[in-house]
Symmetry: D2
Subunit: 349 residues, 4 copies
């Protein structure tokens, strides 16, 4: 597909961004560009064995390194970015997880402040079998192990925030960011409202897999080789990140308490259904109430994230966002077909 | 299967219970009894057309009529009841849903108190096709309709509460009750801790289907013909309702805010995995964090309900609760096979 | 004041109630009756020294013993009870406080479920000087002590709940109950909506004093000799408990999360101001926003409790509830004046 | 007092900051400098009559203009800033309040997302009598009015955030910011942990008075002439903003849900008491539980803010922060005494 504009970017250590907003773009791209990217894991690659405790080897705020940001030409506040995930592949044959002192859903934290001492800090190194597509849990106490399916995803994808803000790469909010939803896997398109010129999109925090809620606060954290296509939808805003797969529409909400994250996502998808599909608001409320899935993303980050997921087959036939997902899926197929012919080949290591 | 003890019970209008606890049992049963039951819908059958507004035809607290309670012989505090769902079949060819003033996730309520006027009160009558196993959404404004799959479930299943309490049938808590989780479908076994002698178990609030979260507060509400088997596990308590299917273990938590419901369910399943499967607590925390699903049940009731769902295949081979689910599934199979031979045939209408 | 109807009641151990609703009244009283009551402390008097750990000497659910309930003649659903506190006096020269495993605001609990071990269980015995009106904190580690002012109050005051429910005496909700607000002190009138015939009012859980929020979950718990006057306001409902002092109007809300308790109390007082004082709802919203105090009651119980407190001097001159507080205060003054002449003298011990 | 370094600063319109962090300092000051400042109201002075609706005359994110930031020489991460409020005086004879669409505690918001239409947008202009020290509420409907006492305070005081972040001036968090607590009045010292070199402290959002919780989301908003003294405490961090008055110590917490804000503030003051006053942690927990006041600050902003307030007289005699509050209070007295002699006189208008 001779028309594809393909850019490869593998950041050097000093090129990572640690925030959404507030950093200069690493590159300017045109809408429709295919990005072949390397993303480091959330620990900046510093947790490599069971003896690498986060509290010793990592340094706040240097967590969740972002690859990017990319300046998307023509993007202005009021537009929407469409980011299609062509592929997300673990870059190494291992991944790491850990407990982090005063972080996670089942521990006192800095905000759910208590008088308990932190839970013990323990690291698990997961072996990844990239052929069998599995990742191996090995208990630290006893010898139990089990292979779980890999289901690679990005914990973070975001643009520069609105309101002149700069947010840590650990934060999920209306600009996207650290949503930590397993729904951000290869094959989907994520819609993000543009807040500043150029949008300044970045991503990182790859997970070989993650449970819903990310209970202990840390997934199976992996460096990733990912390919995305970044497109631009002019003149249409997007209040909260939305995701489209071949089969589903999804709205996300990030807030505390968790019911507010739920409310945001549900109200957004009710508005989506009534806005784009022609149903009355209360009819949309009723249909969503009976048909929606509500997979929890995270209950550990600065904001908690909830997803409202609705099968397209229950809705009138409408191509949302002018068929952006379909168009980008076709570009992805063309990219995969022509991959050997691209002048800048995908990095493999 | 000559050994099955089968009891049919179709309550007369004055026989319904409106609370968990506080009412005399309708019958005493032995552990292992098969119950063939009729349950009325949450509106006590009073919402039958689009003009039957809950605020006009229903009378608080006469909602969520319970079939039961049943006194289980030998059940004592510290034991656990195992309730297996053999079948849940809509008893009529229609079901009802509605908005209810000041109730639901996307409206001000009596507790999320605001200065807004209530949303409009609208009724939807859903047509059920019990052969095709679908239920039809018909918009009230415009002519859009769509058939969704039926996925029958019970919104309520509970025992008498601890601490001398009597709770409305609208409440979910540690005793079960109005959990409103789609996971309570045919084929699963629900474990409930016994708080009073005889346990006093009841159920109701059938849904032809329900979205996760029950966003508008009301599912596709249907009268049900349901068959359950009630068994007793002596000498083992159960702090929060658990559900076992052929493939998954599930813990539930009911609380507000929603993150507390999530915490209860997640902590319970971590404790289940470490308690019954021999993993260290932190190993269980790690495995659950990467493997769990967290389907939201309801974000509308007195307490919100969250489910932690873990595939058995990721765990060591252990038959929890002495294989109760397997045994009850076999009894259910035998019941279905012998159904024509039971002296008290299942009511069909 | 020859017209006062004075009843003394000092429960024997088996006469305590442990719930709101669900128990037979200990006596029938006419509206306007003065009740001279003894209330045992929340531990049922079992924590008497530093070695009396709640987990060892107390037995759930036998906490927060209630003196009552009293059947108020003529009280029907839709009416409001007015309970005036004439006096609240510690019955002993000591009081007790403690940490309770998995209970309190700064610890994991059964609902804010975590993987931490409980905090240590420690008892503090406070010495009360009923002449100087102080209570002495004595540190358990080191020798620091300090005398705090006594400010006696009742943690619980409630009626039988609506919706056929029976609630533990540890629960605060729309029926009152375990609100744990320091505002429930001598001199105030508390308004409670009647849910069942006779109202079935009871009280207990005396505190020699309490911080706002009752952070560790337990106040300076004291048996009390209390005198109240119970009156009845016919034909006027009361959705949430309200309190009137000589200077302030107060609304209470009990819910989780805490912002919902805040919303209930604030919305109620906005409604009170617009309903009884003739302001437009938005004008009331504005005035309340600038003038209200919002003392937190408890952030530890089954529901958290928030109080909205508004000085009467900012409002138009209106005697709410037909001047019930003024009338009851005059009765209280008459009672105190005539106390020596009452045929059933106040018990002192 | 010839040693006082006094700086006056009255920003021109383009000199306001709209964020904490992310903007260049307007001036460098030495520790101990007295700042005579003008702060514009939260609306940037654009709401001046009942017809000036926020949605029409204001432009996001240009709300809560900050006077500053000031670079404090020698301030480094790990230090604490001590900001003493010498005086806070309304700069005009009127102030404004309003409802704001989808903002406030008793309305659906962008995060507590619902299907309700916003509440009506109404403006109240309050007349300030700076001699009598009152502010007049005048109802918009009907003719009720009442004079409330002025109690001037600053809604915002903050430093640049940690973690490379830049936050909107509407946000309260660990860096201070939009805490909206009436406790930030003249005579107190506020302690703020330094996150970046120079600290970059700013303030704004003056309120002629405010109810606890700031229920409608907007206080009696006023431009202010304020005098503060900014001092530096080297080598001691401060996790959350603390406030010291002549009589009380206060900790603040800002988070959602509101119980987390409460937990932060309470845990911080328990740690303060055990850390600086030599009590065991559990003894401190007990003493705080019985002695603390918990005035709510706001339940409307991005984070809710709770204050834990403890009378110094209940604590061992200790001068916290090396007596900073006492020293600054003496400097304030000296400043007031010498005010006529300063070369740069306080602006009055």
């Amino acid at each position: 597909m001779r028309d594809l504009d393909v850019v490869e970017f593998r950041p050097s250590p000093e090129q990572y961004a640690w925030t959404f907003g507030g950093v200069a773009p690493v590159a300017r791209i045109r809408p429709g560009t295919v990005l072949e990217l390397f993303t480091e894991d959330c620990f900046a690659g510093r947790v490599r064995s069971e003896s690498d405790l986060v509290s010793e080897v990592c340094e706040f705020p240097f967590l969740n390194p972002q690859t990017g940001p990319f300046y998307v030409e023509g993007a202005e506040p009021g537009d929407t970015l469409a980011v299609h995930f062509v592929s997300i592949e673990p870059a190494r044959d291992w991944a790491a997880s850990t407990t982090v002192p005063l972080f996670g859903a089942l521990t006192a934290t800095h905000t759910t402040a208590m008088l308990h001492a932190p839970l013990p800090e323990v690291v698990w190194i997961w072996r990844l079998d990239r052929v069998a597509r599995t990742c191996r849990f090995q208990a630290r106490t006893g010898d139990y192990w089990v292979d779980l399916p890999m289901d690679p995803m990005h914990g973070t994808l975001g643009v520069a925030p609105a309101n002149l803000e700069v947010r840590s790469a650990l934060v999920p909010d209306a600009f996207g960011g650290n949503m930590d939803t397993p729904e951000l896997r290869a094959g989907v398109t994520c819609y993000l409202g543009v807040n500043v010129e150029g949008a300044l999109v970045s991503l990182g925090d790859g997970h070989a897999r993650q449970g819903e809620g990310e209970t202990c606060g840390v997934a199976v954290e992996a460096a990733m080789d990912s390919v995305i296509i970044v497109d631009l939808i002019k003149g249409r805003p997007c209040a909260w990140p939305r995701i489209e797969s071949d089969t589903h529409l999804m709205s996300t909400g990030s807030a505390r308490p968790l019911e507010d994250a739920f409310r945001i996502a549900q109200a957004d998808i009710v508005g989506w259904v009534s806005g784009d599909f022609g149903l009355d608001v209360l009819d949309a409320y009723q249909l969503v109430s009976q048909a929606v899935e509500a997979p929890i993303a995270n209950v550990v980050d600065t904001n908690y994230t909830s997803v409202a997921k609705l099968a397209k087959r229950w809705l009138p036939k409408v191509d949302v966002y002018d068929g952006a997902h379909h168009k980008l899926s076709e570009m992805a197929a063309a990219y995969r077909a022509d991959r050997g012919a691209t002048t800048r080949p995908l990095r493999t290591d």
